[in-house]
Structure formats: C-alpha cells, structure tokens
C-alpha cells in the first residue's frame, strides 16, 4: 500500500472522494487537521491551506469544508477499525500510530480517574493526522564524526520542536544497524515510547530502522531501556526526547554496562541542553545541534569538550 492509500484508508468511503485530490501530492503533505465545526486544514510544506468540499486547496477559509461531529466519529471509527476498545491505551495517550507509521492525534472530552489521571477520551472532536516522512540518508554527513577509534560515541541530538531530530535519529539508527561500507552494522535496540521513531503498527516498524534493530514499542523509556538491556543485549540503545531525571538515571545505567546511547532532547542551544542534563552532561561524547531556519536545516556537531567538529547543511 502506498503512502497515498495509507492515508486514504483512514477516511470512510463517503469522505475518500474529498481527500483524493489533496493526497495526490502526499509527498509534500505534513498534516491534516480536522475539528468539529471548523474548516478542514491542510499543512503542506509548512504552509496552511483550507480544503474545499470538492477536495481543492484554498488559501482563504471561505467555502472550506466544515466538518461535522458525525464525520469525525466516522473517521475515528474507520481509523480504529470499528474497534475503539482495542485502542483504549492509545486513545488515553491521545495518539495512535497507523499503518505506514503515520500518527493520528486525538482531542475531545477527557474522562478522569478518581486520582485525577486520564482514564480515556470520549467525544473525540479534533484530529490531527501527521504524515510520516522518512529522509533516508539524512545522517550521511553526520555519521563519520560520531565514531572515535571505530567506537560510536554516546550522542545527543538537540533541537527545538519540528526541526527533524527524530528523523535524524531514525536515519542514524538505520545506518548504525545496517552498517556502511566503512563500518560493520551493530545490534541496536530502540525504546519507542511514542511510536515516532519506528512508527510501529501492530508491533511492526513501518519506518526503516535497520536490519539489526529491535524495537520496543509504546513502552516507557526507563523501563524499556532496562528491559532491552536484559533481554536483547544491544550494542547501542536509542531513545527519543529524554529530559526527566529518571531518563538520565536509566541512561547512566545503560552507559555503565558499556552500551552506546543515541538520544534526542528538546533544546535551543548547547547551554540549554547542558542545563537540562545537569550531572549527566559527561554522559555524551557528541552533541548534534539541529536548527531549521528559512526552510533550511543545518547541523553543528560538538565533541565532549564542546569543540565544534563540523557545521553542515542537511
């Protein structure tokens, strides 16, 4: 099934016709945002458009397709294969990964437990369909600098949201796992708490993460790292969006065992990341700072002494 059909299959028969024209250009599509009584919005190459009832992209909201509650319910049913109960945990988390690794975010009325934690979502009224785009080869120019004496240095990718740190991490995982002409592949384990790295659907990675990669999907990072260390004996462990003290403590334990680490963190600068890392800042031997300005992505690579090793456009 191609990407176009994967997205199209999320919509019930009655709405497929509206989505078809816009999905012809699925390669440049980032998001489809749907909300009850709101115009359907399409985010394409970072720009927002409105969708007409005939499936045409409009720059103005006048004449845009206003979505009804019934249409949202039909789409949710379609996404969940008429089996909402089977996706209870995913709905509680607020998102679901579908075939192809695309993610559907949900919002609506929250049902709480007596202790105030989220029990589930009812009256789902807003959807955000994020189309997964892999960039194979994104890590080509970066990878050689991450090795020292043929050993992968623990690496932290730092960037603000939306700059592509998960995309870069995914390609790093793939290349470390598959190996390159210069280096042999290594056993990699991924703790994919939010199903963003491998984009697993029914436990099967939908994105290319390499032939020597084991994926633990939808598992909390700290538990996942320990579990994988015990069960899969990886040479490298990869995790997305670290930040809490528990994450850092678990990473320390992983590093003590001699396993390499590939991780990402939200941050705007090296200093920002250092502040968040606290005592764990010596854990990493390489820091990759990603920025995205004027539609151009660039990366700076620093070593453990914070010396700039390379600055390159991606």
């Amino acid at each position: 099934m191609g990407k176009r059909d994967e997205i199209l299959s999320l919509f019930p028969d009655g709405l497929k016709g509206r989505m078809k024209p816009v999905l012809e250009d699925v390669a440049h599509l980032n998001e489809i945002r749907l909300g009850v009584n709101c115009p359907c919005r399409i985010i394409r190459e970072g720009c927002e458009y409105f969708l007409s009832p005939k499936g045409m992209c409009l720059t103005e909201r006048d004449g845009a397709w206003q979505i009804t509650a019934r249409e949202i319910e039909d789409i949710v049913n379609q996404i969940c294969n008429y089996s909402l109960y089977a996706f209870e945990n995913e709905l509680r988390q607020g998102f679901l990964t579908v075939q192809g690794g695309h993610r559907v975010g949900f919002a609506g009325k929250v049902i709480l437990n007596t202790d105030g934690s989220v029990r589930n979502l009812s009256y789902i009224r807003f959807l955000n369909i994020r189309i997964s785009h892999e960039i194979l080869g994104m890590a080509d120019s970066v990878l050689p600098d991450l090795f020292e004496q043929e050993e992968l240095r623990n690496t932290l990718i730092i960037s603000p949201p939306g700059c592509g740190k998960t995309t870069l991490l995914r390609d790093l995982i793939r290349q470390v796992s598959d190996g390159t002409k210069e280096r042999q592949g290594q056993q990699v384990a991924v703790v994919d708490e939010r199903s963003e790295i491998a984009g697993s659907y029914q436990g099967i990675p939908q994105n290319q993460v390499g032939i020597r990669t084991d994926v633990l999907d939808a598992c909390p990072k700290t538990e996942g790292m320990m579990l994988l260390m015990r069960s899969m004996t990886p040479r490298v462990i990869a995790v997305d969006e670290i930040g809490s003290e528990e994450d850092l403590a678990a990473l320390q334990r992983v590093a003590v065992c001699g396993t390499g680490v590939l991780a990402t963190m939200h941050g705007y600068s090296l200093k920002d990341a250092e502040d968040k890392l606290g005592k764990s800042k010596n854990l990493f031997g390489r820091f990759l700072l990603l920025t995205f300005q004027d539609r151009k992505r660039s990366i700076r690579i620093y070593d453990v002494e914070k010396h700039l090793l390379q600055e390159t456009a991606l």
Partner: protein, 170 residues
C-alpha cells in the same frame, strides 16, 4: 399386489417429506447455534484479547466449527482496505443468510452486528454483543421447544396424510 406397493410408496414418500421438514428445522437450529458460537468467540476476543474486529474476523475465517468463514475473511480484508463496516457486512452476509433458510428475525441477529460497535471499553463492547447473544439464546431455546412439538406433529400429519392418500388411491 401393485396397489399395496403403490400405497406403501405413497406412505414412504409422505414420511420422507416429513423427515425433510424436520431436517430443515434441525439445520436452522444448528446454524443459529453456530452464530451464537461466533458471538461467544467475539465477546471473548474483545474482553480478553482486546483484538480489533478485522483480526477477530480473520480468526473466525479459519474456524471450521463455526460458520460463514469465507464471508468473514472477505469482510476482514475489505475492512483493512478502508471500506465501511456496515456496508460490507450487509453485502457479504445478506445473500448467504437468505439462502440459509433462517427467518428474517433470525437473520437480523447476525446482520445487526455493525450497529453494536463504537464502545471505548472492551467490557462495554462485549456487553453490547452479549445483548444480541441473549436474544439469540432465547430464540434457540424457543426453536428447540417448538422443534420437539413440531417434529411430532409433522411426522404424525405426514404419516396420516400418506395413509389417507393411499386409501383414497385404493
């Protein structure tokens, strides 16, 4: 001699007709029990396995002891292609149910399945299917009672009819 043989054949024919009528009842009953089995299986897989509907249907499609295996397999495949459950359920099952000899109300017990979807909790979803299963259970019990009485009546009427016809022919 030929008159006696003819009379015997008429009586045997009437008896055969009665048996075939009784058989039709038995087959209806057997199919209803299999549909009940389908619902029991679904409830179990929903409550304990938390499996989505297409996966349950795919499992049902390889269960020989139940019914409509091919149809369930096709529905699962079409659901995964993104087609509407209510539409494909009707398209795939309406025709074989009509051929099955089940009464309209009995067919509805299986055709109503898509209207019972949409619950967030597995337990609630299974309960909603349990409602249909309870109705089905009552239907089976009443058909079983009816079958016992009807069988006796059909056999008696059949044999008596055969005897009467043979007397008339003689």
């Amino acid at each position: 001699m030929s008159a006696v043989m003819g009379s015997l054949l008429v009586i045997l024919g009437a008896l055969g007709f009665s048996v075939s009528l009784c058989q039709e009842y038995r087959m209806r009953l057997a199919l209803l029990k299999r549909i009940r089995g389908v619902y029991e299986y679904m409830e179990f897989q929903i409550s304990y396995g938390k499996l989505p509907i297409p996966e349950i249907l795919r499992k049902l499609s390889i269960k020989d002891e139940l019914c409509f295996q091919q149809e369930f397999g096709r529905i699962a495949r079409r659901m995964e292609e993104g087609q509407d459950l209510a539409v494909i359920w009707k398209e795939e099952l309406e025709a074989p149910l009509k051929k099955s000899g089940l009464r309209q109300k009995e067919q509805e017990w299986l055709l109503a399945f898509p209207t019972k979807q949409g619950f967030l909790k597995g337990q609630a979803q299974a309960e909603s299917l349990n409602e249909i299963r309870r109705e089905l259970e009552e239907g089976i019990e009443s058909l079983q009672r009816e079958q016992k009485n009807r069988n006796k009546m059909i056999m008696s009427v059949g044999v008596a009819g055969g005897v009467l016809l043979s007397i008339l022919f003689l």
